[in-house]
Amino acid sequence: MGGDRIFTWLTAAMGLVVIAVLGAIAIELLVGSGPVWSRFGFGFLTSTQWDPVKGLYGALPYVAGTVTSSVLAMAIAVPVGIATAVFIAEFAPRRIAAPITIAVELVAAIPSVIIGLWGLLVLSQLLSQNVEAPIVNNFGWLPFVGSSATGSDLFTASLLLALMITPTIVALSREVVSSIPRMQHDGLLGLGGTRWEAVRMVVLPAARTGIFGACILALGRALGETIAVTMVIGNTGKVPTGLFDPAQTIASQIASNWSEASIGLETDSLVALGLVLAVLTVSTVVAARLIMHGRGPAVGAPA
């Protein structure tokens, strides 16, 4: 049928557009960063210098900032997220579970620039006075504490990141937990178990893989988050050595420096940073897909 053929080709063509756009982005990242790799090689990844005047560029501080802020964010978001998901899915009475679910989704819906604004103008001020100043002044000599009490540092950025990725973990974990057959859960209750024991011994082990995949996806989100982080992380070129040190992620470095960057090696270096970030985030998507392959509902439908 002519109509069918045309329609099929049309939809296929649109599908190809999706592939083409992704491909174009990949190509552009590779080509655009070419000069950087040929100039610095892998040294780009290990160098800590970012000096447009001297023409020296290195990614290490930003990779370090990205990784540490994301790991710290995960350290907070994973327990809180899983706890929330378990609470909603297993323990909360319906009247409470529904509002909590909505609340979590609304957190996800808040634009990151607004979270950044709040983080900059409210959270960092609160933290600076009540948390950071006391700790830095008294314990600043301890390792991993850091030196900044301004509130614009790794700590604040990690908190914001944690807030932003928690809904991902909650939503996906809740789905996975709900998909564990009730029969297994009830089986433990039939032996005289409490509801918590049924969750701990039967439901969570069965949901382990799915929850892990959810966390990997959340990690990917954390790695790539730009605006909120840029607003509170302190915009420095140094590798952070302490919790209360200013830092910079790959994304925030690109965002901060792009407009003033001179066309040429500097922009190419920013593109190279983008490539590194793209590789990091795409790896998490691929890893999550592999982990969750064939398990339950489709992973991570987008917002």
């Binding site: 009830d186 089986g187 209750l189 039939g190 409490t194 024991e197 039967v202 069965a206």
Partner: protein, 302 residues
Amino acid sequence: MPAPNVAGFHARDEAPSQSATEPAGRPPLRAVPANGDLAGTAAVKGHVLLADVTVSYGKVPAVRGVALDLAPHSVHAIIGPSGCGKTSLLRAMNRMIELTPGAHVSGRVELDGRDIYAADVHAPRVRRVVGMVFQRPNPFPSMSIADNVSAGLRLGGGRRRGVDLNQVIETSLRRAALWDQVKDRLKSKAMTLSGGQQQRLCIARALAVEPSVLLMDEPCSSLDQIATRKIEELIRELSRSITIVIVTHNLQQAARVSDTTALFLVDDDDRHGYLVESGTTERIFNGASNELTREYVSGRFG
């Protein structure tokens, strides 16, 4: 007791009575005394008593006004067509019914003289003492065979003092007639077993916590004939030490396996289940008092 002439009925071995207070042979079924005085009944372990029990979901009753006296160390069958509330009633006996939102039980359900729905009795405690085997085998998939069996014992989060888990695992698997088949692969995952084996694993798991009563909800309905036969033999064997209540839609199975039978039907007007008649299996199948019973067991309807 002379062997009744219902086809397939196995003559039951008479286990000599151990307790001085237990009457010789089986305590005859009788209606619950109106004044609720159980003084005449020895409070042996595993005596289940239902008095005017109604199970409803919201305002809709599933089964109404049930009075049953289930003597210890016997197999009690509950039969009837689908929709008569058999499963609801069974789940009311170990408070699993509470897991269904809106479910409500009225009347008295007593275990050894104590109302299991009393305010100071906790549901997990009831379920520890009144075990359950579900319709479809439900071993815990993330656990090995051994861990499945010992799951009920590990609920405290650690070993109970003085309990040798391995010994209990072996004993339970032997009682469930599964030991020989799995003794070499106790660490492998439970899901590698066949359906019949999984169900016996679930029975072993239930036995490991040493319940006084074991509730079985159509335990053979998803199994083949051979597996079914094995489990029926198991039931007969277990009833020497445990009270067993088995819901089954299979009349022949009820006749084969049980000491007493209770027939439920659906009330035409109100669409709820009710107890038609209960008594020794022999009497129910060969000369019941109620005409409906006679018709049902002879297959004339249902």
